[in-house]
Symmetry: C2
DNA sequence: CAACATAAGTTTCTCCTGTAAACATGGAGG
DNA sequence: CCTCCATGTTTACAGGAGAAACTTATGTTG
């Protein structure tokens, strides 16, 4: 209650409020067409106020994407560390966490990989994305160390896994999975195909 | 020369002209922010003319996406049929053709899988996408028939392959491949990992 | 063959967005 | 206490989506 209005500056922590509003809208609306004015409106400020905190529309989008990568990293890390399971089981858990995240936050996930979130334009965004990617790399290293995974170049395995999981996530979002042409448990099944090639022993 | 102005109706085959202009712009401009007015302008007509051929902006976008799927199907089919190679080689050729297509037409490829090209809103688009997907299905069937691929549910293999190739394509477009964290030939390497799980004999 | 119905294209208008510039305000430091 | 500056607000302008009304060529029909 005492923190209902923790506004460090003159009116409020508008930057935070704008981000929260935008994230909420992104979560609520499946394919939300992003407008700065609408965000400002719902935050209860004038349409020009956001420009005091973000140079332009894209800068806010990139910040949202950055937060998305951080959160994705969190859910994946949580999925990995929860069990004292095998590396293979961890891998599946991480992949499912990622796809689950994408399905629950389709707008945010799309944004994270869209052209609007230009990673070369924002080091913080780039770092966040690489940090999340690093989770996969460490998992693969663990797998190779304990001889669960084949001793192939990590980069190749990483590319394959990242592409696979990201591809599944995108297809799932697009509704091109879980439908006529694919089976009932396409994610599990597809991961198994990948794991056949990844793991040492069948 | 006699067909320089094959205009069935009153002025020209504007529908075709608009599509061509839009495709050209999509190809030229890496991350082109699509505006109907700009397309109309470059086609040399008033900004309201397109509305006589497309109900709205999205309808044109969906048609562009549809054409994209048709073209992708063509290049993949060409890649498959060129050689009398093994199924595995054909698979690699098809995958590389897809990724190559994405790299050469990043704007179009992104559009094809973006929320703007809502497949549930356009049967023709849906059919085109499924047609391209069918190429993969038939290849997998061939592979299972001649015992190159494991006798797993086709849907699982299809989901895995589609996700993998699409994921690689998206990552390649985003510039997240071919870089620091992945090796020099990430596509080949990643496909190999997948094929390890796909193929019967190592 | 002339009159016309209509497809195709143009003008005009309204509402919305992004963004810049000028103006206002209130809290912190001298 | 007064002033400065970060954080707002208002106002303004250039574009875009799309609707409605207006215009023109073209194919059909009496």
């Amino acid at each position: 209650m005492s923190e209902t209005k923790d506004r460090p500056y003159h009116h409020g922590d508008l930057r935070r409020a704008l981000i929260d509003t935008a994230l909420a809208m992104l979560a609520a609306d499946q394919n939300w067409t992003f407008t700065l004015r609408e965000v400002a409106r719902r935050t209860g400020v004038s349409h020009a106020a956001p420009y005091k905190h973000f140079r332009d529309r894209e800068m806010l989008l990139r910040e949202l994407a950055r937060i998305g990568f951080v959160r994705l990293g969190e859910v994946m890390t949580a999925a990995l560390s929860s069990d004292s399971a095998s590396v293979r089981e961890k891998f599946v858990a991480g992949a499912e966490a990622c796809i689950d995240f994408a399905l629950k936050n389709p707008g945010l996930y799309r944004l994270m990989f869209s052209a609007d979130a230009d990673k070369s334009a924002d080091p913080a965004l780039h770092d966040a994305a690489m940090g999340t990617f690093g989770i996969l790399l460490r998992l693969l290293e663990d797998g190779q160390r304990d001889c669960s995974f084949q001793p192939v170049a990590i980069s190749a395995q990483a590319a394959a896994c990242w592409a696979q999981v990201h591809g599944l996530a995108m297809l799932a979002i697009s509704g091109q999975l879980l439908e006529e042409k694919v089976g009932k448990e396409p994610v599990q099944a597809a991961l198994n195909v990948l794991l056949e090639g990844l793991c040492r022993e069948k």
